[in-house]
């Protein structure tokens, strides 16, 4: 097979489908390549999709159109130790009306829906198509070859939206050959079957309301965090673990998750649940400083492939950034077709639009966060501090109480160290 398109998008995830949809809507002949049997088959993530502002003009009533599980009204942040858990919960009525701020979704459903929307707009979706190599002509990317049968697909411009390892970007010389393990995390996830009524009662939810819980601690000191999200009639429980830290750990990721599920407060929430599916994927967590070159001659990089991901501990953003970058890459292709110029200089409009959007503004703002999160104290000592502080505040044991200030100082000295605490508060302040 040999075919020529106006543009080729590698990867039918949120970035790729957003790009293909944007281009197809203006009449461009776009190929959208997916290595799975259907879009979403290879894709997993924690589970919360944030509001997709980039697609709101295409889907003005997104919540009526897209397949989702529950909309998030309740956000919890927890600090957990082996035997205790301290949570801060924010239950927000304002998040209970559309446009919703976030949803739990299943990727095999959601990604497929978005790709089919691109198809409806005129894009050509080619499934079971793993890209083997990029075609370079006169020093410019001019298409891709497929692993399946060596098929050649030609186009004046390629959008690499093929995920965190982006071999397309690598083969075009846009990304480094080797990743640092401190810039990557692995997300592992257990999907747990649970009746809707049980979830509603246990998490204090009604109708299609959902809860998200981010948990710090109880990861055996491995740098990372745990999430628990409510789907309609299942739970998503998983961990994001920094690879540089996991490499040195005594436990495997599934040991850590198994231990976590057995923790007494967690076990209560999961009681009666049954494992439905187990999945894993890398997360580009290095932020702004790990981004590859975004643009080359005849090529642009979007989504996870461009490392567009923000992890602050409070927020985990990826799909919203991917979708926005896809839309902007699509717009840059439309402009390049008008000018009939697909050189790097012409496609740099993509980089410029990204710089002006919240995507690179936020990535730059959180530039120091990945470094701040390399602090081991966050993952064991601080949860221990918080929980032991609460334990002593509430404990009645016949001994006279300390003043709050004296108690706090004593606990900080005992669990973290005063100097460390001051340094961490300062670096946290700078990073967030």
């Amino acid at each position: 097979m040999k075919r020529t398109f106006d543009a080729i998008v590698v990867g039918a995830g949120p970035a790729g489908s957003s790009a293909a949809l944007t281009m197809a809507r203006t009449g461009l002949d776009v190929a959208l390549l997916e290595r799975g049997n259907f879009p979403g088959e290879k894709n997993m993530f924690g589970g919360v999709l944030h509001r997709l502002t980039a697609l709101e003009d295409v889907f003005p009533e997104f919540w009526e159109q897209a397949p989702w599980e529950r909309h998030i009204v309740k956000k919890n942040l927890s600090f957990m130790t082996a035997g205790s858990n301290f949570s801060v919960s924010f239950d927000n009525e304002a998040a209970d009306t559309p446009p919703y701020n976030g949803y739990t979704i299943f990727r095999p459903k959601f990604d497929n829906w978005l790709a089919q929307e691109a198809v409806k707009a005129g894009a050509t979706l080619l499934t079971r198509s793993t890209v083997d190599d990029v075609i370079i002509e006169n020093g410019k990317v001019a298409g891709v070859t497929l692993l399946r049968d060596g098929a050649e697909l030609h186009a004046p411009v390629v959008v690499a939206a093929d995920g965190v390892l982006s071999f397309t970007a690598k083969k075009a010389g846009l990304r480094q050959a080797k990743f640092s393990s401190s810039n990557q995390g692995v997300c592992i996830k257990a999907l747990i079957d649970m009746p809707k009524e049980v979830i509603d009662d246990r998490f204090g939810l009604v109708r299609e309301q959902g809860a998200s819980n981010e948990i710090v601690g109880n990861t055996d000191g491995v740098r990372g965090g745990t999430f628990l999200y409510t789907n309609f009639d299942s739970l998503s429980l998983g961990m994001v673990l920094e690879l540089a830290s996991l490499e040195k750990a005594a436990n495997t990721p599934y040991d850590l998750l198994n231990n976590f599920m057995a923790q007494p407060q967690m076990a209560k929430l999961l009681r009666g649940g049954r494992l439905l599916e187990y999945s894993a994927h890398l997360v580009p967590k290095g932020g702004y400083d790990m981004m590859p070159e975004l643009v080359g001659d005849g090529i642009m990089v979007a989504g996870d492939a461009a490392a567009l991901c923000i992890i602050t501990g409070l927020n985990l953003e990826g799909i919203n950034l991917a979708s926005q970058s896809g839309v902007l890459a699509g717009k840059a292709v439309i402009e390049a077709h008008k000018q009939r110029d697909f050189s790097k200089a012409s496609l740099l409009t993509y980089r410029k639009m990204l710089e002006e959007s919240y995507v690179l503004k936020d990535l730059k703002m959180y530039r120091r966060t990945p470094q701040m999160l390399h602090n081991d104290r966050i993952y064991s000592q601080y949860p221990e501090l918080v929980c032991s502080l609460m334990d002593e505040i509430y404990r009645i044991d016949g001994t006279p109480k300390d003043t709050m200030t004296r108690l706090l100082l004593r606990k900080v000295k005992e669990k973290v160290g005063l100097k460390n605490m001051l340094a961490d508060v300062y670096s946290g302040w700078r990073a967030l």
């Binding site: 290879k42 079971r128 965190v164 390892l165 257990a190 999907l191 495997t252 990721p253 187990y278 894993a280």
Partner: protein
């Protein structure tokens, strides 16, 4: 409830390709003293036999997460790519 990887085929679907998408040069693994792959792989695809000093990789239950590609310190892969179109892990919900 426990994740038991011996039963991974009961809860995660795969369309296993006979042709592996990842191929190791085991002689390189013999010279590695870190073997981060064995601890980091979420699907336990890598096992190290200390007695025979041999690394075994089985691609059948590979979740295609990319972890080994990043943690391998020795560039021990003679091939690391995603499976041919349509093969490999097939998430149903997740």
């Amino acid at each position: 409830m426990k994740i038991n990887l011996d039963e991974i085929f009961d809860y995660t679907s795969f369309n296993v390709d006979r042709d592996p998408h990842i191929v190791l040069d085991e002689t390189i693994c013999q010279q590695c003293d870190q073997r981060a792959c064995t601890n980091c792989c979420p699907a336990a695809c890598y096992t190290w036999d200390e007695e025979n000093r041999k690394m075994t990789f089985v691609h059948d239950g590979c979740l295609e997460c990319g972890t080994c590609y990043v943690v391998c310190k020795k560039d021990a892969f003679t091939r690391w790519r995603y499976p041919r179109g349509g093969f490999g892990v097939a998430f149903r919900m997740t």
